[in-house]
């Protein structure tokens, strides 16, 4: 049982690690603020989710799980907010996104 | 029956009470003006009693305040102190009367303040006279300095400010930097602040250090106006004349030389000095001062300045007497305190009278005033004779003893110096009555000398003659001082 859980955790951690590292790479690689937000979003969502899942496998059902879930919920809740507000502000300060534009811009 | 302790208190406190009362009754001007003389009379009554008890060789110790363990403010009667106390309090009567006349006649401002500080200065001088230990001596030495500052700068103008600065910097500087550590040194060396008739330092201090300690004392006592630190005295002449008269002829400078004598006799002890020769350098310094200032005095045209330099020179007599470290010389020095005081106060009174009466300050302006103010110049003449040392004036006694002492000590050169100095004295002092009586008047100025000025002047000049005949009690005291009765 413990072994299986450990394997699950390892898998989750692996995926999580991958996603945060790729996210970080994206943060460096991508050309402008707006596209970087996507990479950051990867760290916030994919990374967090998998890591927390992996840890939940370790704890079983206990107080710690609750807290882990809370952390997850909190990050899920705040991450889009900060991303959006950042993007919004960048737009307000007249930073235009690169690339082609389809449709009109507000 | 009033005990001697109470007499000390009476003597010391009556000027203080005068000072405290003066501001409160400044509305009743007349009463205020009388306070000084009354205080003087009470005070000198006490001083007389103290002197008589000193003559009976009563040993009186009075501790007023115990500041902390081992230090206190206390009073004690020494023969020398009794003399000085009497001089200061007795002459204060006349000076007070005189100053009323002077201030009124000159229409000075801030008279109340003047009288108050005047009284405080007298108080400090009296406290110095009866000081029981070195600390008390030092404390009131400083009080005297500070209480005279408002008097010196009474005019509150630029010149007064400059003079006041010089006055303070020399007196305070020297006393704080040198006198205080010297006193503390004695304290540390002997373990107490007491003084004794034969000195306290014998065997307590390394002989090699004795001249150094003496130097600290000598230069610390700026009021004795030895040569490098004499500058304050002429500068202080910007003060109103009563101040110059009482303080810079009697209280302040006499406090200085009194302290000097006390240090020489009661701290070092003349035997100790004679044995170690620690004071030899002082003899030469004092002699030099004596001659140099006499010569300077000749070239001063300002009357008060000339008198000031004369004072410096006379003070050096006293220091010299102490430094010679023989009993005769010391006696002479002690007597010179009183004789010179009587003489010099007269001279200053005259200078003030001339200023009030005719606004004259320069000697060269005096030509021919002898007739219009003959009494004044007569007083001046008598005073001058006393200072020169001509019998039957008091000054002759002290000069006589000093010369004897010099002969005793083996420094024959000093006798020569005395002689030269006497000639110089005669030269610069006699010029004034000579000009007044024998020179031709250059311009006509009416001389109006108020009675309140004239009378004290005459009385003090009379005193110089009186003293010649009544020197005996004083002489007894001085011989008690040197332990030979």
């Amino acid at each position: 049982m413990e072994l299986i859980l450990n394997i699950f955790t390892s898998i989750c951690f692996f995926i999580g690690s991958l996603s945060i590292i790729i996210g970080a790479c994206g943060l460096i690689k991508l050309p402008d603020v707006f596209s970087r937000i996507h990479a950051a979003g990867m760290i916030d969502t994919g990374g967090t989710a998998f890591f927390i899942l992996g840890m939940i496998f370790q704890t079983g059902w206990s107080l710690i799980t609750v807290k882990l879930v809370l952390i997850g919920v909190f990050i899920f809740f705040t991450s889009p907010v900060t991303s959006h507000v950042t993007a919004n502000l960048a737009r307000q300060k007249n930073i235009l996104p690169v690339g082609k534009k389809i449709g009109k811009i507000l | 029956m009033i005990t001697i302790e109470n007499f000390i208190l009476i003597t010391i406190l009556s000027p203080l009470i005068v000072c405290v009362l003066t501001p409160f009754i400044s509305n009743g001007i007349i009463l205020r003006d009388f306070l000084g003389p009354i205080g003087g009379i009470i005070s000198s009554w006490g001083a007389f009693n103290i002197m008589s008890s000193a003559l009976n060789n009563q040993n009186i110790n009075l501790e007023i305040v115990n500041i902390a363990e081992g230090i206190s403010i206390g009073f004690e009667i020494t023969p020398l102190g009794a003399i000085f106390g009497l001089v200061a309090s007795f002459l204060w009567i006349f000076a007070a009367i005189y100053s009323v006349g002077y201030m009124k006649g000159n229409k000075e401002k801030n008279q109340t303040r003047f009288y108050a500080f005047y009284a405080i200065a007298v108080h400090a001088a009296l406290c110095i006279a009866y000081a029981g230990d070195l600390l008390t001596l030092f404390i009131f030495y400083e009080v005297l300095t500070f209480s005279t500052y408002p008097l010196v700068t009474h005019k509150q103008n630029e010149m007064a400010q400059k003079a006041g600065r010089l006055y303070m910097s020399i007196l305070v500087g020297s006393s704080v930097i040198l006198l205080l550590p010297a006193i503390v040194w004695v304290w540390v060396a002997t373990g107490s602040l007491e003084m004794s008739q034969n000195g306290v330092l014998d065997g307590k201090i390394d002989v090699a250090y004795a001249p150094l300690l003496l130097a600290m004392f000598v230069f610390g006592i700026g009021k004795a106006a030895l040569m490098p630190i004499h500058k304050w005295l002429p500068a202080a002449m910007v003060a109103p004349t009563p101040v110059s008269a009482l303080l810079h002829a009697v209280a302040v400078v006499k406090a200085g030389v009194f302290t000097m004598l006390i240090i020489l006799t009661n701290v070092f002890g003349i035997d100790f000095l004679a044995k170690t020769g620690a004071s030899e350098w002082l003899i030469w310094l004092a002699s030099f001062t004596l001659l140099a200032t006499s010569i300077i005095a000749i070239f001063k045209d300002d009357l008060k300045a000339r008198l000031a330099y004369s004072t410096i020179s006379q003070l050096s007599y006293i220091t010299l007497g102490g430094a010679l470290a023989t009993s005769m010389a010391t006696q002479g020095a002690a007597l010179h305190i009183i004789t010179h005081a009587a003489g010099k106060i007269t001279l200053f009174f005259v200078a003030g009278a001339l200023y009030v009466g005719a606004k004259i300050t320069k000697i060269s302006d005096l030509n021919g005033y002898g007739k219009s103010a003959s009494l004044i110049f007569l007083a001046f003449f008598i005073g001058s004779l006393s200072i020169i040392g001509v019998p039957p004036m008091a000054g002759s006694w002290s000069k006589f003893f000093l010369m004897l002492g010099a002969a005793d000590s083996g420094y024959e050169v000093v006798i020569g110096i005395f002689c030269v100095s006497t000639i110089l004295n005669a030269f610069y002092l006699m010029e004034i009555p000579a000009r007044a009586f024998f020179f031709k008047k250059e311009r006509e100025v009416s001389v109006k000398i108020p009675k309140l000025i004239l009378i004290p002047t005459l009385i003090t000049s009379f005193l110089t003659i009186l003293l010649f005949f009544c020197i005996e009690p004083f002489q007894n005291l001085t011989s008690m001082m040197v332990g030979k009765i």
Partner: protein, 142 residues
């Protein structure tokens, strides 16, 4: 920034849980990391978030500055009061043993109250600091 609906709504939703979390930290300081300071800061940060999003004036309406001042002192008074009570009970200052029926319960009560005092002061000071800084008027005197 309250006209940005995303920010506004997330603040509205998060506000109460943050305060609750702060109070949780406050009262569970005995068992895990946390205590008055941390709790105070968390509670204060909830209010700060509120003020940031809805504006400082609204924030002051929610938490008037005079109440803030009173609570600011009250925290210290509670802390000192516990000490003084223990002194009146005959012990030394801040000795909690006599506060409860047994020394241990006395200690518990004491620590609880003391931490409460700390939390109150810290949270109120932090809010007060934020308010003072944020509503500073940059106009020169005279």
């Amino acid at each position: 920034m309250h006209n940005n609906p995303i920010l506004r709504i997330s603040t509205k939703i998060l506000f109460a849980p943050i305060i609750l979390f702060g109070l949780y930290v406050q009262f569970h300081g005995d068992f895990g990391p946390g205590g008055g300071f941390q709790a105070g800061v968390i509670v204060a940060s909830a209010f700060i978030l509120y003020s940031l999003v809805f504006g400082i004036e609204t924030g002051k309406k929610l938490f008037p500055s005079n109440i803030n001042l009173i609570l600011l002192a009250l925290g210290g008074i509670i802390y000192g009061g516990v000490g003084i009570v223990s002194m009146l009970l005959g012990d030394e200052f801040l000795a909690y043993n006599l506060l409860g029926s047994s020394p241990q319960s006395g200690q518990h009560i004491g620590i609880l109250l003391v931490e409460l005092g700390v939390g109150l002061t810290v949270s109120n000071v932090m809010i007060a600091l934020f308010n003072a800084f944020a509503s500073y008027d940059n106009i020169k005197e005279k």
